[in-house]
C-alpha cells in the first residue's frame, strides 16, 4: 500500500483523536518538563531583585555597555549564520558520501563539540600568535559549534524521502529547485541548530577570555571575579536572557515546519559519484580545522609542554565519572525532550512551539548561575538533601543541555506524522503499540543524535561541575582544569585527549547506525 495515497490533508477523525491524546498527558507533561528546565531563571530573578538599582544603573548606563552589546550581537549573528552555512554544507557533503565513508568521517566533524574551548583557542593561538578580537572569536566559535547544526541536519537528510527528489528531477526541476527542496527538509534542523549556536555564543566565556574579546557575558564574569558579587552578576545575566528571548523570537517564524518527506536513507549510487570529490575536500578541510588544530595542540602539549609541576593523576577514575555523569544526563534529557518535541508536531498549534522555545532560554544562563541556583535551592528548601551528589550534578547537566537534546529530537519529530500512527490505529493497533512501532522508529535518528550531543557537551562542562561534583571525585574536565590553571599544560593534555576519545564512542556508534539504517526503512508498509 502506498502511503502517499492515504495522506488526506486534515482528516477530521485524526484531529479529534489527536486532541484527546494530547489533552490527557502530552501537554501537561511537556509544560512540567519546561518549567523544570526553566527553574534556574527563578533563582536569577530573585537574586537580581536583591541588587541595588543604582549599582546596576552605574554598570549598565556606560558607553562600554553599548560596545559590549554591539560586540555580543555582532558575534552572535556572525557565528550563528556561519555555523548554519558550514553545518548545512557538512550535512550535505556527508550525505553525498557512500555510507561506509560517511561512517568514517561523521565522527571527525562532530567531535569538535567534545573539545574544551580553551584547547581550540590555544591551538589557534599557537599557530597564529597574533590572533585575537572579533575575527578570532568568530573563527573559534564557528569551528566549535557548527556540529550543533550539522548533526541534526544530517539526521534530517537521512530521514528524508528521496523519491520526491527523483520525481522533481524527472519533472525537469533545476539543480537550484532541487536544492531548495533539500533545504526545506533540513530547515527545521538548521534553524534550530543555529539558535543553539546563538545561545551558546551568548553564554560563552572561557574562549573569549583567552582571545581577549569582551562580550556582555565576560562582563558578568568580571562581576563574579573582581567583585565577588553574585547578585550583580545575576542582574546582568537577565540582560543576556532578554537577548536570547530576542534570538528565540527571530527563530520562531523561520523554522515553522512546511514540507516534510520521510525515509529512504542515503542517496543512490548515481547521485553520489558526481559530487563526491567536492564533498571530500570540504569535509577534509572542516575536519582539519575543527579537529586537527586542537588535536595538534594536545599532541604538542604532551610532547613539548612545560615540565610537570604537580603530582600526576590517573585518567581512569575521572574517565569513569565523566562517562557515567554524561551518559546519565544524555538519557534524562532525551527522555524529557520527547514529550516536549511531540507537542510541537504538526497540527498542535502554537502551544508546543512556545513551550519548546522557552526551554531554549536556559542555554543563555551561565552554567555557574545554574549550579548556584541548585546549591541555593537544595540548601534553602531541602536541608542540603542530595547536595553535591552524583544525581544533583546529572540533574544540573540535564537542565543546562536540555535544548541540545530537544533540537535533535524535534528535527526527527518534524519529519514524522500522526497519520502513520492513525493508520496503525485504524488497522487495530493500541495507542501505545502504534506509538512504539510506528512513530518511535521514525524518531530514532533524532533520539540518537540527542544522546550523542548531550553526552559530548556534558563531557566538557566545567563550572557547574566544580560546584556540584561529589566531594572526592573528579571528572576529565575538572582534572583538566586543575592542571591547566596551574600552567601544567603537559599534564592537562592527557585529560583533554581522553575527553576527545570518550566523545568518539557515541559519535562512532551514531555513524554506524546511519550506515545500517537504510535496510530497515522503507517508504511502503
Amino acid at each position: 500500500v502506498s502511503l502517499v495515497a492515504l495522506e488526506r490533508p486534515g482528516g477530521k477523525q485524526g484531529s479529534s483523536w489527536r486532541r484527546s491524546l494530547k489533552s490527557r498527558w502530552l501537554a501537561p507533561a511537556a509544560i512540567a518538563i519546561a518549567l523544570g528546565v526553566l527553574s534556574p531563571l527563578l533563582f536569577l530573578v530573585l537574586q537580581a531583585f536583591s541588587v541595588g538599582r543604582s549599582d546596576l544603573a552605574a554598570i549598565l548606563w556606560r558607553s562600554l555597555t553599548a560596545r559590549l552589546l554591539i560586540n555580543t550581537v555582532g558575534l552572535v549573528v556572525a557565528v550563528s549564520v556561519s555555523a548554519a552555512v558550514l553545518g548545512s554544507m557538512v550535512a550535505i557533503w556527508l550525505d553525498r558520501l557512500s555510507p561506509r565513508m560517511a561512517r568514517f568521517i561523521l565522527p571527525l566533524v562532530v567531535l569538535p563539540v567534545a573539545i574544551p574551548d580553551f584547547l581550540v583557542s590555544y591551538g589557534w593561538r599557537t599557530l597564529f600568535p597574533a590572533l585575537h578580537g572579533f575575527g578570532a572569536a568568530c573563527l573559534v566559535m564557528v569551528l566549535a559549534s557548527f556540529p550543533l547544526v550539522g548533526l541534526p541536519a544530517f539526521a534530517a537528510l537521512r530521514g528524508m524521502d528521496r523519491s520526491a527528489l527523483e520525481v522533481a528531477q524527472s519533472l525537469g526541476a533545476s539543480r537550484w529547485r532541487r536544492g531548495v527542496l533539500i533545504f526545506a527538509q533540513i530547515r527545521s534542523a538548521v534553524v534550530g541548530g543555529s539558535l543553539l549556536v546563538a545561545l551558546v555564543v551568548l553564554a560563552e566565556y572561557g574562549a573569549f577570555e583567552i582571545l581577549g574579546f569582551q562580550t556582555f557575558t565576560t562582563e558578568i564574569f568580571t562581576q563574579f571575579k573582581v567583585g565577588f558579587d553574585a547578585t550583580g552578576a545575576c542582574a546582568l545575566s537577565l540582560v543576556v536572557v532578554l537577548l536570547s528571548i530576542l534570538a528565540v523570537g527571530i527563530e520562531l517564524p523561520l523554522s515553522g515546519p512546511r514540507l516534510h518527506l520521510r525515509g529512504s536513507g542515503p542517496l543512490k549510487e548515481g547521485d553520489r559519484s558526481r559530487s563526491q570529490v567536492g564533498a571530500f575536500l570540504g569535509l577534509g578541510i572542516t575536519a582539519a580545522l575543527g579537529l586537527g588544530v586542537p588535536l595538534g595542540a594536545i599532541a604538542y602539549l604532551m610532547l613539548a609542554g612545560p615540565p610537570a609541576s604537580l603530582p600526576s593523576a590517573s585518567v581512569f577514575a575521572p574517565l569513569w565519572h565523566s562517562a557515567s555523569y554524561a551518559a546519565g544526563a544524555a538519557l534524562i534529557v532525551t527522555l524529557a525532550a520527547l514529550p516536549v518535541a511531540l507537542l510541537t508536531r504538526r497540527g498542535s498549534g502554537r502551544l508546543g512551539q512556545i513551550v519548546e522555545r522557552f526551554t531554549f532560554l536556559v542555554m543563555a544562563v551561565p552554567g555557574l548561575v545554574v549550579a548556584l541556583g541548585f546549591t541555593w535551592a537544595t540548601q534553602r528548601f531541602g536541608r542540603g538533601f542530595g547536595y553535591q551528589s552524583a544525581w544533583l550534578l546529572i540533574a544540573a547537566y540535564s537542565v543546562i543541555f536540555f535544548p541540545l537534546g530537544l533540537v535533535s529530537v524535534r528535527a526527527s519529530v518534524a519529519q514524522s506524522s500522526y497519520r502513520f500512527e492513525e493508520l496503525a490505529r485504524s488497522l487495530g493497533a493500541s495507542p501505545s503499540a502504534a506509538f512504539r512501532r510506528v512513530t518511535l522508529p521514525m524518531l530514532v535518528p533524532g533520539i540518537l543524535s540527542a544522546l550523542s550531543l548531550v553526552f559530548l557537551a556534558a563531557l566538557t562542562e566545567l563550572t557547574a561541575t566544580l560546584v556540584l561534583i561529589p566531594t572526592g571525585s573528579s571528572t576529565l574536565s575538572s582534572e583538566f582544569w586543575t592542571f591547566e590553571t596551574n600552567a601544567s599544560y603537559g599534564q592537562a593534555a592527557p585529560f583533554a585527549l581522553a575527553m576527545v576519545l570518550l566523545g568518539a564512542v557515541p559519535t562512532v556508534a551514531l555513524s554506524r547506525y546511519f550506515d545500517r539504517r537504510p535496510s530497515r526503512q522503507g517508504a511502503d508498509i
Binding site: 554598570i59 556606560r62 581577549g212 548556584l372 540548601q379 542540603g384 566544580l466 561534583i469
Partner: protein, 296 residues
C-alpha cells in the same frame, strides 16, 4: 594546597575532603550555601575573596595566638582569616626596549605619558584590583580615577585578559612594561627562558609594592570546627610554613621565622608597601572604580 593537605593528614590522621575551584566560584558557592555550607575551611588565592565572605558574616573569628604566628599584613581585618603565603607586586619589562634608568620608580609613574604605547594592563586579573584598592587608600577616590584614566590611555590597544598574556606579549616585543605579582615572572621563566623579559621592584615602600596574600578561614557553622582549627594551626605552624616555602610556587611564607624560598631574594628586598591587605575590602570598591573608567 594538595601538599599541605597530605602532610596534615599524615600528621594528625584527620581525613580531609578537598574541593578545588577558582576563588570566585568557591566564594559564590559558599555565599549560596550560607548557613548550611558543608565547608569547614575556605582557602582562597587572594584576601579580597575572604573579605567578601567576612562581609556576609560567614567566617568565625580566629584565636589570637594563631594570628600572632603570621606577619601583621597577613591577618584579616577582624580576625576572620590568616594568610598562608604572600607575594609582592612588581614591574616586568622588555629589557630591549627599556633601560633600568628609564623605568618608573613608582606605580604612580605608570600614568606618565612617556609610557604611552608601552604599558600593558590586565584589568580583570585578581591581583590588579588590590593595587587599585591600595592606591585609593593612599590617594583617595578622585586621584585614583585620574590615575586609572591616564593608565588606560597609555595602555590603549594593550588591555589583555591576564598576566600570562602580558608576559608573552612582552616576550614577543609587543609590550614594554606591565605590573603584576612577582611569582608570575618566576613561573614564566621556569617554563621557558626569556632573556628580554626582566623584573624590577618599584622604589621601597611605594604604593605599588602591594603584598598579596593567600588566606584561610573557618566557616561560622563549620560542622567539624575542632578539626578546622587544627588545620589552620598546621597551616601557620613551622612545618606548614616550611611546606609553603618549599612548594616551588615562588611565593613567600607568612610566618616571620619561616625560611626564604630557595632562589628568591628576601621579601624585604622589594620594599613592600605598608598598606595592609585588610584595607582592600572585598574588591567591590576597586571594581566600581575600574568600571567607572570603563577598564572593566
Amino acid at each position: 594546597m594538595a601538599k599541605l593537605v597530605a602532610a596534615f593528614e599524615a600528621k594528625t590522621a584527620i581525613p580531609v575532603a578537598l574541593r578545588s575551584a577558582s576563588e570566585q566560584v568557591l566564594v559564590s558557592q559558599v555565599l549560596a550555601e550560607a548557613d548550611h555550607s558543608p565547608a569547614d575551611v575556605v582557602v582562597t588565592e587572594n584576601a579580597p575573596a575572604m573579605n567578601a565572605l567576612a562581609e556576609h558574616h560567614l567566617l568565625a573569628p580566629l584565636p589570637a595566638e594563631q594570628l600572632a604566628r603570621v606577619v601583621k599584613e597577613a591577618r584579616g581585618p577582624s580576625r576572620q582569616w590568616l594568610g598562608v603565603s604572600r607575594r609582592v607586586n612588581v614591574l616586568v619589562y622588555d629589557a630591549r626596549r627599556l633601560q633600568p634608568s628609564q623605568l618608573p620608580s613608582s606605580i604612580e609613574d605608570l600614568a606618565e605619558p612617556r609610557f604611552k604605547g608601552l604599558l600593558g594592563l590586565a584589568p580583570g586579573e585578581s591581583d590588579f584590583s588590590p593595587v587599585v584598592a591600595a592606591y585609593e587608600h593612599v590617594h583617595g577616590q578622585a586621584a585614583t580615577l585620574t590615575w586609572l584614566t591616564a593608565m588606560k590611555a597609555n595602555a590603549a590597544g594593550h588591555l589583555l585578559p591576564d598576566n600570562e598574556a602580558l608576559l608573552s606579549q612582552i616576550a614577543l616585543g609587543q609590550l614594554g612594561l606591565a605590573t603584576m605579582d612577582q611569582y608570575y615572572w618566576y613561573r614564566f621563566h621556569h617554563d621557558t627562558a626569556h632573556a628580554r623579559v626582566k623584573m624590577a621592584a618599584f622604589a621601597p615602600g611605594g604604593t605599588g609594592n602591594v603584598i598579596g596574600v593567600s588566606a584561610a578561614g573557618i566557616t561560622r557553622q563549620a560542622p567539624h570546627a575542632k578539626a578546622a582549627r587544627a588545620f589552620l594551626d598546621f597551616l601557620s605552624s613551622a612545618e606548614g610554613q616550611r611546606i609553603v616555602a618549599n612548594s616551588g610556587a615562588f611565593e613567600y611564607p607568612t610566618s616571620p621565622s619561616a625560611p626564604t624560598p630557595k632562589g628568591l631574594p628576601p621579601i624585604s628586598q622589594y620594599g613592600p608597601s605598608s598598606v595592609s591587605p585588610a584595607v582592600m575590602g572585598s574588591g567591590r570598591s576597586a571594581l566600581n572604580l575600574l568600571q567607572a573608567v570603563q577598564l572593566l
